[in-house]
C-alpha cells in the first residue's frame, strides 16, 4: 500500500464503520456495532502509527485529494497535509478513540442506543482526523463543524433527558459564536492571500506583517492582528476559553466515554492545534498573541477555582479540563506552540484516563455521580484506584509523570515570555498549580479514601443538583417549553438510559467493571506516566516540529530560553524531573495535595466552615461567575424579545397591518364610495350627464 492510500484509509475506515453501523446497526446483531467500529478505528490507529514512524524521517506530505469546487481563480480543495504535527495528532486521536471504543462496550452495554453510540464515536473519529489532516482552511472548517455536530449528537445522546438536550443545543450555539469568528478569519485569509491553502498562505504571510485594514473607517488595524484574533475566536469556542467556555461543563450530560474522548482529549484541543498550525500567522502579531495569552490565563485560573466547589465527579474533571486548556492557550500566547501541543498530548492521555476512571467509579456507584456519597473505593475498585491516582499525579505535575514535563514547560514559557500580559499569565499558571492539586486530590480523597459514605446516604438527594440547575437554565426558553421539559422529566425514567439509575443502596458494595473497562484504564495509565519523559526532548528541544511550527525567536524568546536552560542546566528529562522537586510549582502542588488531605481527610469541618465564612465567594463560584445567567438573560432572552418585537410590530402591525391590509382597506373604502355612484337610478345618471356636458361646454367655450 502506498502512503497516499494509507492517508486516505485512516479517516475513511472509521467513516465507513460509522455508516455501516449507523444505517444497519439495528438489523445486525448487537456485537457487530463494536466489532465493526473497533476494527475501523483500530486499523486507523495502526496505520497512524506507521505514518508517524514514516513522518519522523520523510518530508511532509501535502497533496489534494479532490477539488471541491472552483470559482473564478479560486480553487477549494480537500487535501491532506501529513507532517509530524498531524501524524502525532492522528496517533493521539486514534489511540484515545480506540480506548474509548473498547471502554464503551462495558459502559454502554445495557443501553438501547448501543449501535447508535458506536456509530457516532466512529463518525467523530473521522471528523477529527479530517480536521487534523487538513491542508487548507476550508477542510479545517469542515472538520471543525463536523466534530461540533457529533458533539451535539453525543451530548444529547440520551435525548429524553431535558438536561441533555438543553446542554447540546447550548454547546452547538456557543460553538457557533466561535465559528463565526473562525469563518470571518478564513474569509480575511482568502481575501488578502487569495488562497485557502496552508502552505501558500503561510508563505505569503510575512509580506503582510505591516499591512493594515480598515474595519472601522479611519481606524487602521493590523491585518494580521485582526485575522489572528478572528481565527482565535473560533479556537475560543471549540477549546472552551472564557467567555465561550460555558458549554463545556454542561456537556457532561453526555455519556462518560465521550466526555473522555471529545470533551477532554481531542475535540476541545482542536483550537490549540489550530493555533499551533497557524503559528506563521500568529507570530506576526504581538497583539493577537497577548490576547491569546490573557484569555488563556483567565481560563486557566478562574476555571480552576470552580473545580473546587463541584460535587459531581464529572464536573470536577470538566473544570480541570477547562483550566488545562487555559494552560495550553497560555503556551500558545508565549509562542511556545510546541509546548502547547506537548501538553495537549500528555493531557489527552491523563485526562482521558481520569474521565474513564470517573466513568468506572460511576458504574461502581450505580450511576451516582456525587462525590459526597463515595469514599474508600480503593478497597473495592483497585485498578480504578491506582490508575486514577496515576492520572491525578500526572495532572498536578508530579515530577517524572507526563503532566510534569508539559506543565512545567508551560510555566517556564510564561515566565520567559515578554509580551503584554505575560506576567499575569505567569501568576495565573502558578496559582493554578496549587488550585489544580487541591481540587484533584479533594476529588481523589473523597472518592477513594475515607468513610464509605454511601452507606449513610439518605434518600436520593444526590444527582438532583444538576436537575435544579437545569430547570433554572430552561427559563431562557419560552415558559411553555421549560414547563414541558420539566414535567416530562419525571416521566422519562422509563427509558433505558442506564445513568438514570439512582445510586448504590447502603448495604451494597461497589464492584469494579470487567476487563473492557479496566484494559483502557491500564493502557492509558502507561503513557500518562511515560510519555512526557520520552517525548519532551524531541518535541520541545529537538527537530520534531522543525519547519512545521514557526517561531520568531528574536521577538518571542520563550522556547529558545527553555531549550537553552534544558541544554545547559538540566541536560536530560530525568535531570529536569529531579530539578523539578526543588522548584516553586512543586511546592505549590505538594501544598495543594496536603491542604486537600488536611481538609477532607483530617478536618472535614474546615471546608464547611470556610464555605460558611466566605459565603459571598462561595456564591460567586456556585453561580460560575454569572456567565450562564448573563447569557441567558441578555443573549437568549434578548434575541427572543427582539425577534418577537420584530415579528409582532414589524411584520404583523406595520407591514401587514398598516401597509398590506391597510391598502386593501383603503381600496375597500374607495370602492364603497364609488359604488354609491352606481345607484342604478336613471335620473342620477342623467343628472351626472348634464353636469358633464355642462363642464365640457364650459371648458371648450373658454378656449
Amino acid at each position: 500500500m502506498t502512503m497516499q492510500k494509507i492517508y486516505l484509509a485512516i479517516p475513511l475506515l472509521p467513516m465507513f464503520a460509522a455508516i455501516i453501523v449507523g444505517l444497519f446497526g439495528k438489523q445486525l446483531p448487537r456485537a457487530t456495532a463494536h466489532v465493526v467500529t473497533i476494527l475501523g478505528v483500530g486499523s486507523s490507529f495502526v496505520l497512524s502509527a506507521i505514518v508517524l514512524n514514516d513522518a519522523m524521517t520523510a518530508p511532509a506530505y501535502n497533496a489534494t485529494v479532490y477539488t471541491w469546487l472552483k470559482s473564478g481563480t479560486l480553487t477549494f480543495e480537500v487535501g491532506f497535509l501529513v507532517d509530524r504535527l498531524s501524524a502525532m495528532m492522528m496517533v493521539v486521536v486514534t489511540f484515545v478513540s480506540l480506548m474509548v471504543h473498547i471502554y464503551t462496550i462495558g459502559y454502554m452495554h445495557e443501553d438501547k442506543g448501543y449501535a447508535r453510540f458506536f456509530s457516532y464515536i466512529s463518525l467523530f473519529t473521522f471528523a477529527m482526523l479530517m480536521l487534523v489532516m487538513s491542508n487548507n482552511f476550508m477542510q479545517l472548517f469542515f472538520g471543525w463543524e463536523a466534530v461540533g455536530l457529533v458533539s451535539y449528537l453525543l451530548i444529547g445522546f440520551w435525548y429524553t433527558r431535558p438536561t441533555a438536550i438543553y446542554a447540546n443545543l447550548k454547546a452547538f450555539l456557543v460553538n457557533r459564536v466561535g465559528d463565526l469568528g473562525l469563518l470571518l478569519g478564513i474569509a480575511m485569509v482568502l481575501y488578502y492571500f487569495g488562497s485557502l491553502d496552508y502552505a501558500t498562505v503561510f508563505k505569503l504571510a510575512p509580506d503582510f506583517a505591516a499591512h493594515t485594514v480598515y474595519i472601522f473607517p479611519h481606524v487602521p488595524w493590523s491585518l494580521m492582528t485582526v485575522t489572528c484574533i478572528l481565527l482565535f475566536i473560533g479556537a475560543m469556542g471549540k477549546s472552551a476559553q472564557v467567555p465561550l467556555h460555558v458549554w463545556l461543563p454542561d456537556s457532561m450530560e453526555g455519556p462518560t466515554p465521550i466526555s473522555a474522548l471529545i470533551h477532554a482529549a481531542t475535540m476541545v484541543t482542536a483550537g490549540i492545534f489550530m493555533v499551533a498550525r497557524m503559528s506563521p500567522l500568529f507570530e506576526l502579531s504581538n497583539t493577537a498573541l497577548s490576547f491569546v495569552m490573557i484569555i488563556g490565563s483567565i481560563t486557566a485560573l478562574f476555571m480552576g477555582f470552580l473545580g473546587i466547589i463541584q460535587n459531581d465527579i464529572k464536573r470536577v474533571v470538566a473544570y480541570s479540563t477547562l483550566s488545562q486548556l487555559g494552560y495550553m492557550t497560555v503556551a500558545l500566547g508565549a509562542s511556545a506552540y510546541s509546548v502547547a501541543i506537548f501538553h495537549l498530548m500528555t493531557h489527552a492521555f491523563f485526562k482521558a484516563l481520569l474521565f474513564l476512571g470517573a466513568g468506572s467509579v460511576i458504574m461502581g456507584m450505580h450511576h451516582d455521580q456525587d462525590i459526597r456519597n463515595m469514599g474508600n473505593l480503593k478497597k473495592y475498585m483497585p485498578v480504578t484506584w491506582i490508575t486514577s491516582l496515576i492520572g491525578s499525579l500526572a495532572l498536578i505535575g508530579t515530577p517524572f509523570f507526563a503532566g510534569f514535563y508539559s506543565k512545567d514547560s508551560i510555566i517556564e514559557a510564561a515566565a520567559a515570555s515578554n509580551i503584554t500580559g505575560s506576567s499575569f499569565a505567569y501568576f495565573a499558571v502558578l496559582v493554578g498549580v496549587f488550585v489544580t492539586a487541591f481540587y484533584s486530590f479533594r476529588l481523589y480523597f473523597l472518592v477513594f479514601h475515607g468513610k464509605e459514605k454511601w452507606r449513610e446516604a439518605k434518600g436520593d438527594s444526590h444527582h438532583h443538583e444538576s436537575h435544579k440547575v437545569d430547570t433554572h437554565d430552561e427559563n431562557n426558553h419560552s415558559s411553555t417549553d421549560a414547563e414541558r421539559a420539566h414535567d416530562s422529566h419525571d416521566t422519562s425514567h422509563e427509558d433505558s438510559s442506564h445513568e438514570e439509575h439512582h445510586g448504590l443502596s447502603p448495604n451494597d458494595d461497589p464492584h469494579e467493571p470487567g476487563w473492557v473497562v479496566k484494559l483502557p484504564l491500564i493502557l492509558l495509565a502507561i503513557p500518562s506516566v511515560l510519555i512526557g519523559y520520552l517525548a519532551i526532548k524531541p518535541m520541545l528541544f529537538g527537530d520534531f516540529f522543525k519547519d512545521i511550527i514557526f517561531v520568531n525567536h528574536e521577538a518571542h524568546p520563550a522556547i529558545e530560553d527553555l531549550t537553552h536552560h534544558f541544554n545547559t542546566v538540566l541536560h536530560t528529562p530525568a535531570g529536569m524531573a529531579l530539578h523539578g522537586f526543588m522548584t516553586l510549582p512543586f511546592v505549590l502542588a505538594a501544598s495543594g495535595v496536603l491542604v486537600a488531605w488536611f481538609f477532607y481527610m483530617k478536618r472535614p469541618d474546615i471546608p464547611a466552615a470556610i464555605q460558611h465564612r466566605f459565603s459571598l465567594i462561595n456564591k460567586v463560584l456556585e453561580n460560575k461567575y454569572g456567565f450562564d445567567s448573563f447569557n441567558e438573560k441578555v443573549f437568549a432572552r434578548g434575541a427572543l424579545f427582539i425577534g418577537n418585537k420584530l415579528w409582532q410590530i414589524g411584520d404583523v402591525q406595520l407591514i401587514d397591518g398598516a401597509f398590506v391590509n391597510g391598502t386593501a382597506r383603503l381600496i375597500g373604502k374607495l370602492s364603497g364610495v364609488i359604488r354609491k355612484l352606481q345607484s342604478g337610478l336613471i335620473y342620477h345618471y342623467a343628472f351626472a350627464m348634464i353636469i358633464g356636458v355642462f363642464l365640457f361646454l364650459t371648458f371648450f367655450m373658454k378656449t
Binding site: E145, L180, L183, A187, F193, G194, R484, A664
Partner: protein, 503 residues
C-alpha cells in the same frame, strides 16, 4: 429523430409535463385513485427525463444561450416563441422537474380528494415554471410567469388550510401587482428596441435614470417573488395554508423564479442601476438575513418557522447577486439550488408529521424521536443542512457568499455570518422541541415511523443534500461560463477576486 428531439428539448421540457397534466385531468378521477396516481407519476418521470439532456448535452464552455428554438408567434408585435437556456437556467430547470416527481410521490396516499386535479396542477405548474426559466422573449416569459400563479392559486385555494382564502388573495395580489410594473417595463423596452427579445434588451444603451426606473419596476416583481424584506409577508401565510406539495414547490422553485429573473432581466438590462442601487439591495438582503432569522426564532408554527427561514436564506441569494464578484454570484446560484432541496425536505418533513397529527404547532409535539427514530434521523440531517453545516449543500452557498461579501465590506460578511448562530438557533431549537425530550402526549406515543414511500423521498433528498455538500463542483461547472459572461455583461464593473498581493 434523436437530433430532431434534441433541437426541441426545451419545448419538450415545457410541454411534456403540461400535456401529462392534461392527460391526468382527462383520464384520472377519484374513482380510480391508483391509476390516476400512476399516470401522474409516469408523466412526472417522463417530464424529468425530458430535462436530463439539458445537462448531458450542455456545452459547459459556452456562456450564451443554448438549445435555442423559436417560431414567430404574434408577428404584429414582433412577439416570438423563443426559448433558450444558459448555465444559470439549466440547474433550476432540473430542480423543477426533479421536485415535481417528489411532489407527486409525496401526495400519493395523502391527497384523496380531487387527486387528478391536484396532480395535474403540479404537472402543469412544473411546465410553466420551466417556461419561465427558458423563455427568451419577454412576453412569452410574462405569460409563463403569470400563468404559473393560477395552478398555485388553485392548489392553495382548494387543498389548503382553513384560512386559505385570505392567503390566496394576499399571495395573488402581492405577486400580480409587482408583475404589472414589470409588464410596463417590457412595453417601455419594446418601444425602445422594437422587439420583445431579451437579447435585444441587453444590447440597448440606456441612461442611468431610465435604468433606475426599469430596475425598480423589475424589482417590484422579483422582490415580491423571492421574497425580500419588506414585501415578504405573503409567504408565511401562503405556506401555512398550502398543502405540503404546494409548500414544497413554493419554497423549492417559485422563490427561485424571482432570483433567476434578477439575473435574467433586472441586472443585465440595467447594469448601471444595479450598481447604483446595490447599497439598497445589500441592505435589504442583510435585513432579510438578520431580522427574518430573529423572527423565525419566535415562531410557534413549524411551517411559518421554515417559511421565515426560507426568506432568511434567500437573503443570501440577493446578497450574493449584489456584491458583484464571482464568488458571491456563484454562491448565490448554489444557494438557490441547495435551498430547493433543503426547503423541500423540511416542508416534506412537516408534512409527514402533519399527516399523522394534523397539527403544525411546535407545542403539540415533543419526543417524536422516541416513536419515529428513522424519521428523526432524517429531520436532524435536514435541520443541520438548514443550519449550513459543512458537508451538506446548505453550507456551500452561504460559505461562498460570506467569503465574497467580506471582499466588499467586512460588516456585510459579519452580518451575514450571524446566520451561523441564528440559523442554528431557530432550526435546532425546533428540533429540540419537536423531536427530543420525553414523549409529550398520547398522540406522539401513537406515531408510526415513516413508511417506505416517505423513506424514499426523504432518502433521495438526503442524498442530494449530502452529495452536493461533499461535491458541489457540478453546479459551479455548469454555471461557470455563464457567470463569466454575466460579469462582463455587467460592464466589467465586477472585480474578480484579486489577491491584495498583486497591488
Amino acid at each position: 429523430m434523436l437530433n430532431n428531439l434534441l433541437s426541441h428539448i426545451l419545448s419538450l421540457s415545457i410541454w411534456v409535463p403540461i400535456l401529462a397534466g392534461v392527460a391526468v385531468l382527462a383520464l384520472g378521477s377519484d374513482k380510480t385513485p391508483n391509476a390516476t396516481r400512476w399516470i401522474a407519476l409516469v408523466g412526472g418521470l417522463a417530464a424529468f427525463a425530458a430535462t436530463i439532456p439539458l445537462y448531458t448535452h450542455f456545452n459547459f464552455a459556452y456562456g450564451g444561450f443554448q438549445f435555442q428554438e423559436g417560431i414567430r408567434w404574434i408577428p404584429a408585435f414582433n412577439i416570438n416563441y423563443h426559448l433558450g437556456v444558459d448555465g444559470i437556467a439549466v440547474p433550476l430547470i432540473l430542480l423543477t422537474s426533479f421536485t415535481t416527481v417528489i411532489v407527486v410521490i409525496a401526495a400519493w396516499e395523502v391527497i384523496t380528494l380531487r387527486i387528478a386535479q391536484y396532480m395535474a396542477a403540479f404537472l402543469i405548474m412544473s411546465g410553466l415554471m420551466i417556461g419561465v426559466f427558458s423563455a427568451l422573449d419577454s412576453i412569452l416569459y410574462y405569460v409563463f410567469w403569470e400563468a404559473m400563479l393560477i395552478p398555485m392559486f388553485l392548489v392553495i385555494g382548494i387543498w389548503g388550510g382553513p384560512n386559505r382564502v385570505y392567503a390566496t388573495i394576499k399571495f395573488f395580489l402581492y405577486t400580480l401587482l409587482g408583475s404589472l410594473l414589470m409588464l410596463v417595463a417590457f412595453i417601455y423596452l419594446y418601444y425602445q428596441t422594437g422587439s420583445f427579445e431579451v437579447v435585444d434588451f441587453y444590447a440597448l444603451p440606456l441612461g442611468l435614470k431610465p435604468q433606475i426606473l426599469i430596475f425598480m419596476a423589475f424589482f417590484m416583481a422579483f422582490a415580491v417573488k423571492i421574497p425580500m424584506w419588506p414585501v415578504h409577508t405573503w409567504l408565511p401565510d401562503a405556506h401555512v395554508e398550502a398543502p405540503t406539495g404546494g409548500s414544497v414547490v413554493l419554497a423549492a422553485i417559485a422563490l427561485k423564479l424571482g432570483g433567476y429573473s434578477f439575473l435574467r432581466f433586472a441586472m443585465p438590462i440595467s447594469p448601471d442601476a444595479a450598481h447604483y442601487l446595490a447599497p439598497m439591495m445589500i441592505t435589504l438582503s442583510l435585513i432579510a438575513v438578520v431580522y427574518i432569522a430573529l423572527v423565525a426564532l419566535v415562531q410557534q408554527d413549524m411551517k411559518k418557522l421554515i417559511a421565515y427561514s426560507s426568506i432568511s436564506h434567500m437573503g443570501f441569494v440577493t446578497l450574493g447577486f449584489f456584491i458583484f464578484n464571482s464568488l458571491g454570484l456563484e454562491g448565490a446560484i448554489v444557494q438557490m439550488i441547495s435551498h430547493g432541496f433543503i426547503s423541500a425536505a423540511m416542508f416534506l418533513s412537516v408534512g409527514v408529521l402533519y399527516d399523522r397529527m394534523h397539527s403544525r404547532e411546535i407545542a403539540d409535539y415533543g419526543g417524536v424521536a422516541n416513536t419515529m427514530p428513522t424519521f428523526a434521523a432524517f429531520a436532524v440531517l435536514f435541520a443541520m443542512a438548514n443550519s449550513g453545516l459543512p458537508g451538506t449543500s446548505g453550507f456551500v452557498g452561504e460559505f461562498m457568499v460570506i467569503l465574497g461579501a467580506l471582499q466588499a465590506n467586512f460588516w456585510f460578511a459579519f452580518l451575514a455570518s450571524t446566520t451561523l448562530i441564528f440559523g442554528a438557533a431557530y432550526t435546532l431549537w425546533m428540533v429540540k422541541r419537536v423531536f427530543y425530550g420525553a414523549i409529550a402526549n398520547h398522540h406522539v406515543a401513537e406515531l408510526k415511523d415513516i413508511n417506505k414511500r416517505e423513506f424514499l423521498i426523504l432518502g433521495v433528498l438526503a442524498i442530494m443534500v449530502l452529495g452536493f455538500g461533499l461535491y458541489p463542483a457540478p453546479i459551479i461547472e455548469i454555471t461557470h461560463a455563464t457567470v463569466l459572461q454575466f460579469i462582463s455583461q455587467m460592464h466589467n464593473k465586477i472585480p474578480s477576486v484579486v489577491s491584495a498581493a498583486t497591488y
